[in-house]
Symmetry: C2
Subunit: 204 residues, 2 copies
DNA sequence: AAATAAGTGGACATTGCGTCCGCTTTGGGG
DNA sequence: CCCCAAAGCGGACGCAATGTCCACTTATTT
């Protein structure tokens, strides 16, 4: 896991103990993130290379690698903030997204929020597309734990297997393909809502 | 799409018009497929390279590229046969997999059959892992059409969006991750069965 | 057995990766 | 204010894999 960073700037939150970040480092981080965001948005995010980003940001390869091991982690850094906001809402927000509503409604609300996030940041999400690495992500672990809890709360059998199954439709490539074929976010959300209610309970 | 091939040998079915395949070509095709199957099974299928396969098969790079543009298409060629068998059973086999059973049962049977296929050929399936390219596959189109028909038959709203959603848990990476974490095929099948019945109808 | 078309294979140019290390910049201490 | 240790920088380098090209070999046809 990366260390905690600030919203938008990606600057590390200051913590006691370790030396403050140098000015040139901060400048370059900002340049890198800005350039990367533009690149991911401008073309097929999966085709963006470390070289591209270094060139666009006007920094050397070495500088880039100092902080990010690959393009995926850059996209993730950009995405991280938005995911954190959603996580916060899940844990402490108002129902039905936050605690208090019946599990089926919370699951449906989660789906709706995720679709919103996917759609808004589709280029980043695709840039962060990682195949199998996706499951090692902190974010994925969080989503799974959340869904797992909802299922357990509703006393559904096989909550572990179902959690991954219910998260699968939120994979970036699935969503991108659906949009590419002309489905609207509304249609997708509607389908996922049906899924949520179908699994957790027959909504009354 | 590739032209139709025979079970196991991958040899093109003879068709009028185009010249018959030469003996050395057939020999090499067999060598390539055998070597590739072994490689995919022996190590991480995603790490297998065209060079590896060429070396293992004892043929030159050029020969390999003549027939297959990349490792993914080789894995797919190996997989193709098995998928075709399942497709046949879906279209003309006995219920509940084939026609005749209620949609919910057919969907559950489809899930069970797919889990079986995934589990048996997990290395190939991972070798054929293609990210977004998966959706351009003939096989994926077939599965989607099948699920779409079952949903339509049951008069479910948003069958298009739901078809992709219901297929997402069958993605190779999802399945591999579940197995990696210790879930058994039986548990996964049970969860998918619940999914099928939850979506299509409240099973009686 | 000659003609010809199909098939072969390795050398090559290219691209992206990741590392390494000499140089530059920064900022705290004297 | 200036010095200098340490943090940061960046381009050159070696590597691995890709995909193409074409002179050569092998199979098939007559």
């Amino acid at each position: 896991m990366e260390s905690r960073t600030e919203l938008l700037t990606g600057r590390p939150v200051e913590e006691a103990g370790r030396p403050r970040e140098r000015a040139d480092a901060a400048r370059n981080r900002a340049k890198v993130l800005a350039a990367a965001a533009e690149l991911f948005a401008a073309r097929d995010p999966r085709g963006v290379t470390m070289d591209d980003i270094a060139k666009a940001a006007g920094v050397g390869r070495g500088t880039l690698y100092r902080r990010y091991p690959d393009t995926v982690s850059i996209a993730q850094a950009l995405l991280d903030e938005h995911e954190r906001v959603l996580q916060e809402r899940l844990l402490r927000g108002d129902p039905p997204l936050g605690p208090g509503a019946p599990p089926a409604d919370r699951l449906a609300a989660f789906y709706a929020a995720m679709v919103e996030l996917l759609d808004e940041h589709i280029s980043l999400v695709l840039g962060a597309e990682q195949g199998a690495a996706r499951y090692a992500t902190g974010a994925y672990g969080f989503w799974r734990a959340h869904v797992r809890v909802l299922l357990a709360e509703a006393a559904i059998p096989e909550p572990d297997a179902l959690a991954d199954i219910l998260l699968a439709p939120l994979g970036p490539d699935v969503y991108a393909e659906q949009r590419r074929r002309g489905l609207t976010p509304e249609q997708i959300t509607a389908a996922l809502t049906r899924l949520a209610h179908g699994i957790v309970e027959r909504a009354g």
